[in-house]
């Protein structure tokens, strides 16, 4: 797990890019999908603090860009006003939560809320 910027407990003023390393196979044998990534972000990134870097033998590297308020990713699937882009495409085109992450995917979370 590697973070290139701190301050995640604060509002994300400008974008924050993260390289996230996930196991290619989960314990139950399935591949990590967007649901898994969301849970992962909530459990790890959002809690800020130090996350131990761990590299597993079989990994998926995903680039995550956050342009959202840190507390809003908790319910990204329920809360209106957050767009999820998978390699620049609306996640609706890619199967939403069920999209299985591929090596080097770019995932963007972007808020549509007012920011004047």
């Amino acid at each position: 797990m590697y973070l290139d910027s701190g301050g995640l407990e604060l509002l994300f003023g400008n974008e924050r890019k993260h390289k996230v390393v996930l196991p290619a196979r989960l314990e139950d044998g399935s591949r990590p999908n967007i649901s898994y990534l969301l849970k992962y972000l909530v459990d790890n990134l959002m809690k800020d603090q130090r996350i131990d870097m761990f590299i597993m033998e079989d990994n998926v590297y995903v680039n995550v860009t956050l342009r959202v308020y840190s507390n809003s990713i908790n319910d990204v699937d329920r809360r209106p006003g957050i767009l999820v882009l998978i390699n620049d495409a609306d996640w609706e085109l890619e199967g939403e939560e069920t999209y299985e992450l591929q090596q080097g995917d770019n995932i963007v979370f972007v808020s549509t809320l007012h920011g004047g």
């Binding site: 767009l83 963007v108 920011g115």
Partner: protein, 413 residues
Amino acid sequence: MAPTACFDCKEARAVIIRPKNRHKLCRACFIKVFETEVHETIIGTNLFFPGERVAIGASGGKDSTVLAAVLKTLNERYNYGLDLCLLSIDEGIRGYRDDSLETVKRNAVQYEMPLDILGYSELYGWTMDQVVEQVGKKGNCTYCGVFRRQALDRGAARLGIKHVVTGHNADDVAETVMMNLLRGDLPRLSRGTSIVTSSDASDIKRSKPLKYAYEKEIVLYAHHRQLDYFTTECIYSPEAFRGSARTLIKDLEKIRPSSILDIVKSGEDMAALVPVEVRGAGKATQAGAEEESAGGCGSQNGRTSGGEMAAMEKQLTENDAAESLETEIKLPSGARVKPNRGPTGKAVKTQTIKHCERCNYISSQRICKACMLLDGLNRNRPKTAIEVGVGMEDEESSSTLMRQMERAQLSAT
């Protein structure tokens, strides 16, 4: 999932689903269609004239940044002949506006537009940080809204510009329609949907070229053109009435994406049904008041919180005495009312264009609203300021106005 081909070019990979019609488009076709639609709005409404100097109300947020980028593109592509510049208001909110202004400064370089920044501290002697320190977070949006409205006008006047464009989008307009509907505010409903809002108290025209653009598409446009914008919400913004209206339309959008444009359309159609006396009276009475404050401000949320509503109700009762107002309100649109005396011999509030006695700013009142609020601030009695400040030109007083107009209607028949 297999890649979907673009609906328009049938070749490139679709990356966007348009909310208004569910068309799946590739990046290039989306950017093209987004720009073309804004162009059609501009042409269809004769928004600009060649050689016009236009100030873009720029906050550094997505809406105004997209507006600046699109206007620059269209101005060059279709030879509008516009002289564009950026106008920013510095409310003086540390950790919010100072950061977003940095974005605007970069935008000025990126878009090769001159930038003018006008600060609350410079204009009023108070930053919003200081205002909040004094009045607290509740109700501070009233100050900010009043101050910003005037600040944009003053900024434009300083530049000798008569047209300010703001980044209000379809979602904002739909929100405003819903709010006015929920408040039963016909005059505002009739004016809020129009692309141009000018007021009798100001010779500066306001317009919103993105009024038919979905917020979602604005964000996607910014993303796909990699525009440099600032994402955050005002740190003082509370969630109140506008916030609820917003959640409502966003929820509707989820179920039925065309809802947002449909609400805008319904707002326009209902506006056409509002009798001209109501519309006109509202306009004259509320001279200088805009339906919205400057583009993309989350801070509009708190403007009618419970406390203010209560204060308004109180105001309403007090205003019952001022029935002489009714005769004024019936006057048709654009009518200039000479200051005159009511039956009681007391000076009647009029809607004539005057200059504020304090700051000389154009105002429909003897003392402009900003000066009234400032009075209160300076006297360290913010509560009084709010009550005094809730004059006829204020949004919060709109239902007071409504009731008075209903009565005016009744007495007219």
